[in-house]
């Protein structure tokens, strides 16, 4: 007769932890979705996130205001992502190569800047005030059992991520710009033919993905925690890619997949605590990653990328 007391951990706290762990993945996956909808493959979320995390922490540290940190993290992510835009859209570089370079570059840059701003690499000094202090319970809604604490008693960036899921779903489907973004990824020539600049739309999409990934980084350094640590993204940007793919290149799908990965991570921590299975801890540690592989392998057949995703778009002008 097995000991069933461990089932105690299947509670609301598990779901709250799921949301906390999935938020950075959700944000980066949303960004990647917009980017790929416009036909630009973006694997640089990991690097953009670390840049966002760094500038959010530095700004919050020197100004003492975490909201300015938030703005700085988002802005830094957006600006950094423009390198990807220039490289892939204007200079026609391979999208994956550019993304890989951005990832590697980001870790070097943050290490260098750590020494410049804090006098040492490793981890930054703690910021005086962080966004976790601004946890806000929505009146009435937060009283709903289970769903209340999970969705309506959270910290600012988590609320922003919920809002973005809804907003981007609507934006991509029902607005003119959203339509243009989707057209740029499906049939860019048609878009150009009706007089819309494909380049401009692609730049916009890449920039949005940078803002979202920068926000994901800010979440890690100034909302979930109070300092920046080199490499603190720990592959979340890549899991976001998997969330985007298994979520079928849609905002809502990305969110649900990210929740699934967050759930896998929250669950493995609890399985370790209760030592339900007597196996080496490495098996627990790889659990979220294994879940990622299974989800992508199992769902990828049903999910279709935009037709012109990663395809270079060149307009040849006759006059030149």
């Amino acid at each position: 007769m097995p000991d069933w007391t461990f089932l105690m951990f299947l509670n609301t706290d598990l779901l709250v932890a799921t949301v906390r762990l999935s938020t950075p993945i959700t944000l980066a996956a949303l960004g990647a979705t917009v980017c790929e909808k416009a036909g630009v493959v973006n694997i640089a979320m990991e690097g953009i996130m670390i840049i966002g995390a760094f500038f959010a922490a530095v700004t919050a540290f020197y100004t003492g205001n975490p909201w300015l940190g938030l703005a700085a993290g988002v802005a830094a992510g957006g600006i950094y992502s423009l390198i990807h835009a220039v490289a892939t859209i204007s200079l026609h570089l391979d999208h994956v190569v550019s993304g890989a370079v951005l990832n590697i570059l980001a870790f070097g840059i943050t290490r260098y800047l750590m020494v410049l701003f804090f006098g040492h690499p490793g981890t930054s000094d703690a910021i005086p005030s962080f966004l976790g202090d601004y946890q806000f319970a929505v009146p009435f809604l937060s009283k709903i059992p289970v769903l209340g604490p999970v969705f309506f008693n959270q910290t600012p960036i988590i609320y922003i991520s919920f809002f973005l899921v809804i907003f981007l779903s609507w934006f991509l489907k029902y607005t003119k710009t959203g339509l243009h973004i989707r057209a740029a990824g499906e049939h860019p020539l048609a878009l150009e033919t009706i007089g819309v600049s494909v380049y401009r739309i692609k730049y916009l999409a890449v920039f949005i993905s940078g803002l979202a990934s920068g926000l994901a980084g800010a979440y890690l350094s100034i909302e979930n925690n109070v300092s920046f640590t080199e490499g603190m993204t720990n592959g979340k940007g890549f899991i976001a890619l998997a969330a985007m793919i298994s979520g079928g290149w849609s905002a809502l799908g990305s969110f649900l997949s990210a929740l699934f990965f967050g759930f896998a991570d929250a669950l493995q921590v609890r399985l370790q605590i209760f030592r339900v299975f007597h196996v080496p801890e490495e098996l627990f540690i790889i659990f979220p990653y294994a879940a990622t592989i299974i989800a992508v392998a199992g769902l990828v057949k049903r999910s279709r990328p935009p037709k012109a995703d990663g395809v270079d778009f060149i307009i040849e002008k006759e006059n030149e």
């Binding site: 105690m8 951990f9 509670n11 706290d13 932890a17 906390r20 762990l21 950075p24 290490r111 750590m114 804090f118 006098g119 040492h120 690499p121 490793g122 981890t123 703690a126 976790g132 890690l220 979930n224 925690n225 109070v226 300092s227 640590t229 080199e230 490499g231 603190m232 720990n234 991570d265 929250a266 921590v269 609890r270 370790q272 605590i273 030592r275 801890e281 490495e282 627990f284 540690i285």
Partner: protein, 350 residues
């Protein structure tokens, strides 16, 4: 044309390197030889709040007390290890420290190629086949863990009324970084310490698999706190900052590791299970200066004051005298060799 440019650039570069090299040599001649101790960090670099910083503090002690010159070189990547170590030896260091388990191969190679310089490695084992000018320095982490466990075991039950940070659930936790021998020794020692004073206490344990994942450290600690843990011991490097943050937010206590981490969150960090890297670095340098240096592995423990727990700081008035006396007594017994502490999970049947 292009080829010509390239050639010219090469020649200029070569000339610059030669000039630089000759400059260096001249400098050396004019300088008077002073006793010098040096260290090369591993990729963690200074600011890791752990062994690199600890070794650096040791060298600062050397400068102060022995009046030696000190030199620190940071390694940016693993391929820097050998050149950094050899470079320090060639600069005239009398002893060169390699800091961290990752530098094992590099420091042994450097020692072999520079037989006139002494080398020492923190957290590195020296075997019989290793050069005689290399000293490995290891610590008995389980002793520090055990003492921290005694404090945690007593505070979480008998003295839980001492502060609102403690509850009556009799649960404590340990968050690990990667599962490697020094981390395992801390954890296993902690569990035995807790059980020695509080056999019924539940000790929860989570391995995060990373030393730099604050988010996961926080999540692991939060999950433990949900289950009633009121003291969480972090053995997870920078991941542990997330652990301390979680304890701070939830109003429970944390125990730091390696160095005295009270400064991270004075109202939250009860004590820290430390290893006195500075002291051992100092001893190694002193042995070189006194010509008593020998190769092989030195294992430092409580009898050398190299392991133990840090002062309680803000918790000085919270921790009752009974606990302080117990800790002192256990430490004395440990020094006298009266306490046998297992060092692996396997030995505990985990």
């Amino acid at each position: 044309m292009k080829k010509g440019m390239k050639l010219a650039a090469l020649v200029v570069a070569a000339a610059m390197i030669l000039t630089l090299a000759s400059c260096k040599k001249e400098e050396k001649k004019t300088e008077e030889k002073k006793f010098m101790a040096a260290m090369a960090t591993d990729v963690g670099g200074l600011g890791d709040k752990s062994f690199n910083d600890g070794a650096h503090q040791g060298l600062e002690m050397v400068r102060e007390k022995l009046g030696a010159d000190i030199k620190v070189v940071e390694s940016k990547q693993q391929t820097d290890y050998v050149p950094n170590l050899i470079g320090l030896a060639e600069d005239g260091s009398d002893i060169v420290f390699a800091v961290g388990f990752l530098m094992e191969q590099a420091v042994k190679e450097a020692a072999k190629n520079n037989p006139d310089t002494k080398f020492a490695g923190i957290d590195i084992w020296a075997g019989d086949n290793d050069p005689a000018n290399f000293m490995g320095i290891l610590y008995k982490e389980h002793e520090s863990g055990y003492l921290a466990g005694v404090v945690a075991g007593m505070m979480t039950k008998e003295h839980s009324s001492a502060s609102p940070r403690f509850n009556d659930k009799n649960v404590v936790g340990v968050v690990l970084g990667m599962f490697i021998p020094p981390v395992e020794k801390f954890e296993v020692g902690f569990i035995q310490g807790v059980k020695s004073v509080n056999p019924d206490c539940k000790v929860l344990s989570v391995t995060t698999g990373s030393f730099v994942d604050q988010a996961k450290g926080k999540e692991a600690a939060l999950a433990m706190i949900e289950q009633g843990a009121d003291i969480v011991f972090q053995v997870a490097g920078l991941t542990g900052l997330g652990v301390i943050q979680a304890c701070k937010e939830k109003g429970v206590a944390a125990i730091g590791v390696d160095v005295d981490q009270s400064g991270v969150a004075p109202d939250t960090v009860l004590t820290s299970a430390v290893k006195q890297i500075p002291q051992t670095v100092f001893l190694a340098v002193e042995s070189v200066k006194n010509n008593t240096f020998t190769g092989g592995t030195k294992v430092y423990g409580i009898e050398d004051d190299a392991t133990g727990i840090s002062p309680f700081h803000d918790f000085e008035s919270v921790v009752p005298q009974a606990v302080k006396e117990k800790v002192a007594q256990v430490a004395a017994d440990m020094k006298a060799g009266k306490i046998k502490i297992e060092t692996t999970r396997a030995a505990l049947g985990m």
